[in-house]
């Protein structure tokens, strides 16, 4: 009994990783990823030193800095800007990087292969999802090089930096599930990238409304506000409810992907 359960789990992960590996490779070695990461890193390589230089200037002239506690904090003055640029990059590029995952399979008819292979829809979806997350993990790790490199010259607050990156990772988890959902809706690459972006932007907009309200609505609104959760991470605190928020929203979108894939089976 125990043994067969183990075998089944092994089988589940084996097939899932097979799909993940294939999609990860095909995204990593695609010209799109090459060009996109090139542009992103050129952008970051311009912005980051510029912010760092400005910060160094204001640090040299403390008269100009306002708050004595935060004025001298490299995390809030330089790193947070870096983090929010990365957020912006992720917001727009994850739908583009992930658009091919299901839409292209449909376009090339390779979807038929996956649907008729001994592979459940669930394994296929998770495989693709993890492929996209792994790809962005590579990007995140590379981008961590900028703040870490300043550590060679000055002392940097590592705690908030890592919790901010955990926050970014949570965003990746959410955006990727949205991108996969957008990709499952049609066989058009353009449409799936576009829909993904719209969804991502709307997720941010929902949070904007919460500000003025009061009572229950306000607390619900602030719970589904990405901004407030991200702020927690940026401030250096790892709040479990924030992690739960990102994970459960990602699960929600993955469930939609599952429904959308299964819809093909039932109607086509």
């Amino acid at each position: 009994m125990m043994k067969s359960l183990l075998q089944e789990m092994k089988f589940f992960f084996k097939q899932m990783f097979l799909v993940a590996q294939k999609d990860f490779k095909s995204m990593l070695f695609s010209p799109l990823f090459f060009v996109w990461s090139g542009i992103s890193f050129i952008f970051l390589s311009y912005i980051f030193p510029r912010d760092l230089f400005r910060f160094a200037m204001s640090y040299a002239m403390p008269v100009m800095g306002g708050d004595p506690n935060q004025g001298g904090n490299i995390h809030f003055n330089v790193f947070v800007a870096h983090i929010s640029y990365i957020n912006l990059i992720l917001l727009f590029s994850i739908p583009v990087l992930g658009m091919k995952l299901l839409a292209e399979e449909k376009q090339n008819h390779t979807f038929d292969l996956l649907m008729t292979a001994p592979l459940s829809s669930f394994q296929m979806i998770l495989g693709k999802y993890f492929a996209l997350i792994s790809l962005l993990l590579v990007f995140l790790l590379c981008s961590l090089f900028y703040p870490l490199s300043t550590g060679l010259f000055v002392e940097i607050p590592l705690g908030p930096l890592f919790s901010s990156y955990l926050g970014l990772f949570c965003l990746v988890v959410l955006y990727s599930s949205v991108a996969l959902f957008a990709s499952s809706l049609s066989s058009s690459l353009f449409l799936s990238a576009f829909i993904g972006m719209i969804f991502n932007i709307s997720l941010w907009f929902i949070s904007q409304q919460g500000v003025g309200d009061s009572g229950l609505i306000s607390s619900v609104m602030s719970y589904i506000s990405i901004a407030s959760h991200l702020t927690n991470f940026i401030k250096g605190s790892i709040v479990i409810s924030s992690i739960v928020f990102f994970l459960s929203s990602a699960c929600f979108f993955l469930f939609l992907v599952f429904k959308s894939v299964e819809f093909v089976r039932w109607r086509a």
Partner: protein, 307 residues
């Protein structure tokens, strides 16, 4: 090996297939014949577990595809209407990937890939990008992915459509060599294709099975009636009546300068007709045996089933 019991499927309000049932024995090669839109692809998608029917059941080697899809799919090789190929992969890597996906034992994969490349004649292009192959070779890659897991059941959806005559011949030869190794269902709208490669034929039209028969049975049914088309230069009013009186002619219909004659099966009728036209100097342009295309077969088969 394959048991299909009263399948029905509709897309929205359009009924694609209704009450389709058939059985196929182990090792048989069965042609699934029907015109465009008959429901061939739909039936095959249900057989392969891609789609769920609204009614009915499918058993592959005793396993119900709806209840145990993973087990049943292991027994299948499927070539869809459009070959399911990743254009950014190399032929060899693609086949390895499919073999893994179909759960082939790891040790056997290189051997099976080699064997499959050999079978479909792709040895020289094994290290090429699929993107750069010609349409015929892409189709072969599609066939290769269906074969690579050495499945018991092969389901091929119009394997020769859109290829040039030489490629068509090559693929047909490959199929003939596969006989006996797999149970094969092969859909097509070309009658001669069935005659070349299949043991048995299932004819489907407008979502319903019109006929199931062995190949010899089919040709007998087709030969039951003979038609001749006669075209002349000078048409006179009484020609129609006169043609009817020729020995062996059953009925005549006129289309402008052509006459379609239902005739008896005796062989001298062509000669008699020619002599009649020439002797009365109507100006013979053409006299030919009407060949039956698929449409005629369907019309005939549906007529027969009504009677």
């Amino acid at each position: 090996m394959i048991k299909v019991h009263s399948l029905s499927k509709s897309y929205g309000s359009r009924q694609a297939i209704s009450d389709v049932s058939f059985e196929i024995n182990k090792g048989e090669v069965v042609g699934f014949l029907g015109p465009n839109g008959a429901g061939k692809t739909t039936t095959m998608k249900i057989l392969t577990g891609y789609m769920v029917p609204h009614k009915g059941s499918v058993q592959l080697d005793g396993i119900d595809i709806l209840k145990e899809p993973l087990l049943a799919k292991k027994k299948l090789g499927y070539l869809p209407e459009f070959p399911p190929i990743y254009t950014d992969m190399y032929v060899e890597n693609y086949l390895q990937y499919v073999a893994k996906l179909k759960l082939c034992p790891k040790k056997e994969i290189p051997k099976r890939v080699d064997l499959t490349l050999e079978k479909v004649g792709l040895k020289e292009v094994r290290k090429r990008l699929i993107k750069n192959l010609s349409k015929g070779f892409k189709q072969r890659v599609g066939l290769a992915q269906a074969l690579v897991s050495q499945p018991e059941i092969l389901i091929l959806d119009e394997p020769t459509v859109g290829l040039d005559p030489k490629q068509v011949k090559d693929i047909r030869n490959t199929l003939i060599q596969l006989k006996g190794q797999h149970t094969i269902i092969l859909s097509t709208h070309i009658l001669s294709e069935v005659q070349i490669s299949c043991d048995r034929v299932i004819v489907i039209n407008k979502g319903k099975i019109v006929m199931q028969d062995s190949l010899t049975g089919l040709s007998q049914k087709m030969r039951a009636k003979r038609q001749i088309v006669l075209t002349v230069r000078k048409v006179s009013d009484d020609l129609l009546l006169k043609l009817k009186k020729v020995q062996g002619v059953i009925s005549v219909t006129q289309e402008d300068r052509s006459f379609v004659l239902d005739v008896e099966k005796e062989n001298s009728i062509n000669e008699d007709l020619a002599r009649f036209v020439v002797n009365n100097s109507y100006g013979l342009i053409e006299l030919k045996e009407k060949s039956f295309n698929l449409e005629d077969v369907f019309i005939r088969l549906t007529e027969q089933s009504k009677k």
